[in-house]
C-alpha cells in the first residue's frame, strides 16, 4: 500500500492504527438518515466525488461529510463531521451530513462508548480534512500555475493571488487525483474557526418537528410486527405454549419460539407475530407460556447481604503504593465505612427493538446499535452468513446510555425474520425492557483509612465488591483476576502515601449486566468521594481545601477545582438552613466536579443549585459539552434518589416508569455549568459529569443535617432527620 493513499483515505498517521480501509475512491452510497419506504423519493446518495471515505464534494459545490458514529443524543452526528470540516475549512452549517451505514471496513471503528468518539477521531479526521484541503489547494495552484504556498482557503473556496478564487466544487474533479504528501500541515489551534465555538447541532432541526427517524420509525414493504414474551428468570426454557386466546385476536398470524442471545447465556422467549403492533401486543398479553426451570432464586436482597459479608474477605490486590498495612496499623483512630450502590436499568426512552429482513444468505437490519461492527459479527455468526452480505442501517437512537452496546433485540429480529421469511419489526414493551435487563452492577465498597497528626490522609484502602460485567456476559474469569474496569477511576485520583485498592468478585449469574453511563465510576466514585469527605470532616478541614491539598501534584484537576471554588462562591457564608457539598472525579480521561447547594424543607432537603466544572480538553462544541453535563447531572440525581432495581426469586419487581421512576422537570435545580479552556487534545464529555453527582449531594446533606448517606438510593424528603 502506498502510504500517501493510506493517509488520504484514513487520516491515520501513527503506526498500529490500521483499521482495514478500502483504498478505492469509489462513489459513496450511504443514505441520509434512513430509507423509510412509507416516504418516497428520498435522495439517499451522497452526491459528487469522494476525496476520502468520509468526504464527498459535488461539482455544484455541495459538500457531504459522513457521520459514521451512531447518534444517541451525545452529539457526534455533528461534532465528528465538524472536526473534518474545520481542517477542510468549510462551515459545517453549510454542508450536508449523512448517517453512514455500519461499515467498519470503510470507516474504521464505529462503536460509541467510553466517551471515545471525539477522543479517538480527533487526529484521524483532522488529517483527513487537511489532506482534502491540500488536494483542493494544489488543484487550484495547478490551474493558476502558481505555487500552493500562494493559495489559501476560506469556507469552501481556494483563494489565489489578488483575491482570485475557485470553489471546492469547481476543483474537485482535478483534486481527486492529486497525491497527498506524507505529512500534512494541520491548522494551529488559534486558527480554528468552528471548533471551540458553540455551534448549533445539525440534527436538532429534525428533532423538533417529528421528522427525525428513530429505530421505531423504520418500515419496509411487507413487514410484520413482533411482540415478545421473555422467560422470567433469564435461564429457563419453554415448556409449553397455550396460544388459543392469542390466535383469536384479529391480525395475529404466528406464534414463534425465539431467543434473546446474551453471549454466554441465552434467554428463551416467545414472539407473537401480527400485521399491526397493537394486534401483536394484545396477542402477547393473551399468551400463556409455561416455563421450565425459570426460577433461579436470584434476589437483590440476598446479593447485597452476600456482598456486605464479602467485604470481610481479603480480596485480590489491584494496586498498592507505599505500605498500607503498616501505615494503617500505626494509627489508634482508624476510620472505616461501607457504601452501597444499587443495580440500575438504563431505560433509554426508546424501547428496545429492531427491524430485520433476512433473505437467504443476505440480511439487512435497521438497528439502534452503539456497536455496528460488533453487531455485524454477531449477526454473521448467528445467521451463518458472510459479513459482507449484511447491511446495517443506523437510524437515530432514542437514547442508549450503554444499553445498546449489545445486540439482543437485533439478533432476535434476525432470528424471527429468518424463521417466518418476512421482514420483522420487533418492539419490546417498556416492561420487557425494564424487567429483563441487563442492569448496571450494584456494589458494596469498603473503605479504611487513617490521618496523620497534621490531618492529612496517611493511609487509605478502597475495596470494591461487585459483580463483573465481563463475567456476566462472557464468563471471563473475575475470581482469580481483577477486572480492571471494575476499579475505575480509582487509580486516577489523589496522591495518597500509603494506598491500596482491592477487588472481591460477586457472582450473580444468570442476571445479565452491562456497561451503564460512566460504568463502574458511577458506583466507585460515590464511595471514594464520600469517604474522602468523611476524612476531611474527621481532620476538621474544609472539604474543598482537603481535596485541593490532595491534588497539589495534578495541575489540571487542581485548577479545575480552584475555578469551581470561585465560581460556586464556596467560601461565602451560607444562607440560614443551607448546606453545601463537593465531589470530583476523572472518568474516560476527562475531569468533572460539582458543588451542590441544598436547603432544609420539612423532613427532607431541596437541591437549590449545582455548579459544575468540566475539563475535556479543547471544547469541540462547547454548548454540547454543557448539554452532556446537564444530562449527567439529571441521570446522576436519578440514580442517587429514585429507584433501585429489585429482583425477588429471579423476577424483577420494577416494570415501568411508575416503579422505576425518573427525575422530572419539577425536580431540576438551577444549573451553572462551565467548561475549562485549554489546548489539550479533546476527550469525550458524555460520561465524566455523572460519577461525582451523588457524592456531592450526599456530602451536602451531611454538611446540612449531619446525616451521612452511605447507601443509594435514598429518599430526598426524609434525609433531613437523623437516624
Amino acid at each position: 500500500m502506498k502510504r500517501r493513499s493510506f493517509l488520504r483515505n484514513t487520516g491515520l498517521t501513527g503506526a498500529g492504527l490500521f483499521v482495514g480501509f478500502s483504498l478505492t475512491q469509489c462513489k459513496v452510497d450511504e443514505v441520509p438518515g434512513i430509507i423509510n419506504l412509507l416516504k418516497t423519493n428520498i435522495d439517499n446518495e451522497a452526491i459528487g466525488l469522494a476525496l476520502n471515505n468520509y468526504l464527498n464534494i459535488d461539482p455544484s459545490g455541495l459538500i457531504t461529510i459522513m457521520a459514521h458514529k451512531p447518534e444517541m443524543g451525545q452529539g457526534t452526528f455533528h461534532s465528528i463531521p465538524l472536526i473534518l470540516a474545520e481542517e477542510l475549512d468549510v462551515d459545517p452549517d453549510g454542508i450536508s451530513i449523512k448517517i453512514a451505514k455500519g461499515d467498519e471496513e470503510r470507516y474504521g471503528p464505529q462503536g460509541v462508548g467510553g466517551s471515545g468518539s471525539v477522543r479517538d477521531m480527533w487526529m484521524p479526521l483532522r488529517n483527513l480534512g487537511a489532506s482534502a484541503r491540500h488536494m483542493l489547494r494544489q488543484a487550484a495552484a495547478n490551474t493558476w500555475g502558481i505555487d500552493i504556498k500562494d493559495t489559501s482557503t476560506d469556507n469552501g473556496f481556494v483563494i489565489g493571488k489578488e483575491g482570485v478564487k475557485l470553489s471546492y466544487g469547481d476543483l474537485v474533479e482535478k483534486a481527486k487525483d492529486i497525491e497527498v504528501p506524507e505529512t500534512i500541515e494541520l491548522k494551529a489551534i488559534s486558527e480554528f474557526k468552528y471548533i471551540g465555538k458553540s455551534k448549533k447541532r445539525t440534527d436538532i432541526n429534525s428533532k423538533v418537528n417529528g421528522s427525525a427517524n428513530f429505530g421505531i420509525d423504520m418500515r419496509v414493504e411487507g413487514m410484520v410486527y413482533a411482540s415478545i414474551v421473555h422467560c422470567p428468570g433469564w435461564k429457563g426454557t419453554v415448556k409449553s405454549i397455550d396460544d388459543a386466546d392469542t390466535r383469536k385476536i384479529a391480525g395475529v398470524t404466528d406464534v414463534v419460539k425465539t431467543v434473546r442471545p446474551l453471549f454466554k447465556n441465552t434467554q428463551e422467549a416467545v414472539a407473537v407475530i401480527a400485521d399491526t403492533y397493537w394486534a401483536a401486543l394484545q396477542g402477547a398479553r393473551a399468551l400463556k407460556v409455561s416455563w421450565e426451570d425459570n426460577k433461579h432464586a436470584i434476589s437483590t436482597e440476598d446479593i447485597f447481604k452476600t456482598m456486605h459479608s464479602k467485604t470481610k474477605e481479603d480480596g485480590m490486590l489491584d494496586k498498592e503504593n507505599g505500605q498500607f498495612e503498616t501505615a494503617f496499623a500505626k494509627s489508634d483512630t482508624p476510620f472505616e465505612a461501607t457504601y452501597e450502590t444499587p443495580f440500575l436499568s438504563h431505560s433509554p426512552i426508546e424501547p428496545m427493538g429492531c427491524l430485520a429482513d433476512v433473505k437467504g444468505d443476505k440480511a439487512e437490519v435497521w438497528a439502534t446499535t452503539q456497536t455496528p461492527g460488533w453487531c455485524k459479527g454477531e449477526m454473521a455468526k448467528m445467521l451463518e452468513i458472510k459479513p459482507e452480505n449484511i447491511t446495517i442501517n443506523i437510524p437515530f437512537l432514542g437514547g442508549a446510555f450503554g444499553r445498546r452496546l449489545i445486540h439482543g433485540p437485533i439478533l432476535q429480529a434476525c432470528d424471527l425474520s429468518k424463521k417466518i421469511g418476512k421482514p420483522v419489526r420487533v418492539l419490546w414493551t417498556r416492561e420487557e425492557d425494564t424487567m429483563n435487563g441487563p442492569f448496571r452492577p450494584g456494589s458494596v465498597n469498603a473503605l479504611r483509612g487513617t490521618l496523620s497528626a497534621e490531618g492529612k490522609i496517611d493511609s487509605l484502602e478502597h475495596k470494591v465488591v461487585t459483580p463483573s460485567i465481563g463475567h456476566a456476559l462472557f464468563g471471563r474469569d473475575a475470581s482469580t483476576k481483577v477486572p480492571g474496569s471494575a476499579m475505575a477511576p480509582l487509580h486516577e485520583y489523589y496522591t495518597i502515601p500509603n494506598y491500596r485498592s482491592k477487588y472481591v468478585f460477586m457472582d450473580v449469574d444468570p442476571m445479565p449486566l452491562l456497561w451503564w453511563r460512566s460504568v463502574y465510576s458511577s458506583t466507585n466514585v460515590f464511595a471514594h468521594e464520600s469517604f474522602i469527605d468523611e476524612l476531611a470532616v474527621a481532620a476538621k478541614k474544609d472539604p474543598m481545601d482537603f481535596r485541593l491539598d490532595l491534588l497539589e501534584d495534578d495541575e489540571r484537576k487542581h485548577k479545575l477545582l480552584k475555578t469551581l471554588r470561585q465560581r460556586s462562591d464556596w467560601d461565602k457564608a451560607l444562607p440560614e438552613g443551607w448546606g453545601k457539598g463537593v465531589a470530583i472525579s476523572h472518568c474516560f480521561q476527562a475531569t468533572a466536579a460539582h458543588v451542590v447547594y441544598i436547603s432544609k424543607t420539612g423532613t427532607g432537603v431541596k437541591i437549590e443549585k449545582i455548579h459544575t466544572a468540566v475539563d475535556c480538553g479543547i471544547a469541540v462544541n462547547e454548548n454540547n459539552i454543557i448539554a452532556q453535563a446537564e444530562g449527567c447531572i439529571v441521570m446522576g440525581l436519578t440514580a442517587a434518589y429514585k429507584d433501585a432495581m429489585i429482583v425477588k426469586d429471579g423476577v424483577t419487581q420494577n416494570s415501568n416508569f411508575h416503579n422505576y421512576r425518573m427525575l422530572r422537570i419539577n425536580e431540576i435545580p438551577e444549573l451553572d455549568i462551565f467548561v475549562m479552556k485549554n489546548e489539550e487534545s479533546p476527550v469525550g464529555a458524555g460520561e465524566p459529569g455523572l460519577p461525582p453527582v451523588a457524592p456531592a449531594l450526599t456530602n451536602a446533606i451531611f454538611n446540612l443535617t449531619g446525616n451521612r448517606i452511605r447507601k443509594l438510593p435514598f429518599e430526598l424528603d426524609k434525609v433531613g432527620v437523623i437516624g
Binding site: 423509510n36 412509507l38 447518534e71 444517541m72 443524543g73 451525545q74 452529539g75 448549533k200 447541532r201 440534527d203 436538532i204 432541526n205 429534525s206 428533532k207 423538533v208 418537528n209 417529528g210 421528522s211 427525525a212 427517524n213 428513530f214 421505531i216 420509525d217 384479529a250 399491526t276 403492533y277 397493537w278 394486534a279 431505560s347 433509554p348 426512552i349 426508546e350 424501547p351 437515530f396 437512537l397 432514542g398 437514547g399 446510555f401 418492539l427 414493551t429 417498556r430 454548548n623 448539554a627 452532556q628 446537564e630 444530562g631 449527567c632 447531572i633 439529571v634 441521570m635 415501568n656 416508569f657 411508575h658 425518573m662 427525575l663 422530572r664 422537570i665 419539577n666 431540576i668 444549573l671
Partner: protein, 152 residues
C-alpha cells in the same frame, strides 16, 4: 374491527381498526405520522403526547373509541413547512434535544401550556411538563425554551 373516522391535523382519515386500539398506534401505523413516539404504554412518560380538541393527551392510553369525532393534532400539525411553531423555534434556539425521542411529546405539552398561559410561571411549567420524561435530562433547556417562546 370497524371503520373509524379520525380528524388529524385538519385532515380526515377512515381507518379499519379495532376501537380499543390506542390512538398512538393508529396515527403511527395507519396514518403514517411517526413523530409521536411510544415510550411506556401507560401514560407515564409523555412521549406520545398529542392534542385532542386542544387538550394534551397521552395517546398511548386513549382508545380510538374516545378519539372519534375529536380534532387530533400531532407534532406534524403545529407548524408548517415554511414556518415552525414558536415553541419549535425556541427549542432550536435553546438547543434542547439530545437523543430527541421524547421531544415531540415535550413540545406538544409546551404548546398546550402556552395556549392557556401565555407567560407561564415556573410552577405552571412544572405542572404542565411533569408528565413528560426526558431520560437525556434536557429539562433545564426545556424550561428556558418555554420562557423564550412565551416572550417571543
Amino acid at each position: 374491527m370497524g371503520q373509524i373516522k379520525l380528524s388529524i391535523n385538519g385532515k380526515s382519515y377512515t381507518i379499519d381498526a379495532d376501537e380499543s386500539m390506542p390512538l398512538l398506534w393508529a396515527v403511527r401505523d395507519f396514518v403514517g405520522l411517526t413523530g409521536s413516539k411510544f415510550g411506556c404504554g401507560i401514560a407515564q412518560c409523555g412521549a406520545c403526547t398529542m392534542h385532542m380538541d386542544g387538550e394534551p393527551i397521552r395517546s398511548c392510553s386513549v382508545p380510538l373509541a374516545s378519539a372519534k369525532g375529536k380534532k387530533i393534532t400531532t407534532i406534524e400539525g403545529i407548524g408548517t413547512e415554511d414556518k415552525l411553531h414558536a415553541v419549535q423555534e425556541a427549542w432550536i434556539e435553546e438547543q434542547v434535544p439530545q437523543c430527541g425521542y421524547c421531544q415531540s411529546g415535550q413540545i406538544m405539552s409546551a404548546v398546550a401550556l402556552l395556549k392557556t398561559h401565555a407567560s407561564p410561571t415556573d410552577e405552571q411549567i412544572d405542572e404542565a411538563m411533569q408528565g413528560n420524561i426526558c431520560r437525556c435530562g434536557t429539562y433545564d433547556r426545556i424550561r428556558k425554551a418555554i420562557k423564550r417562546a412565551a416572550v417571543g
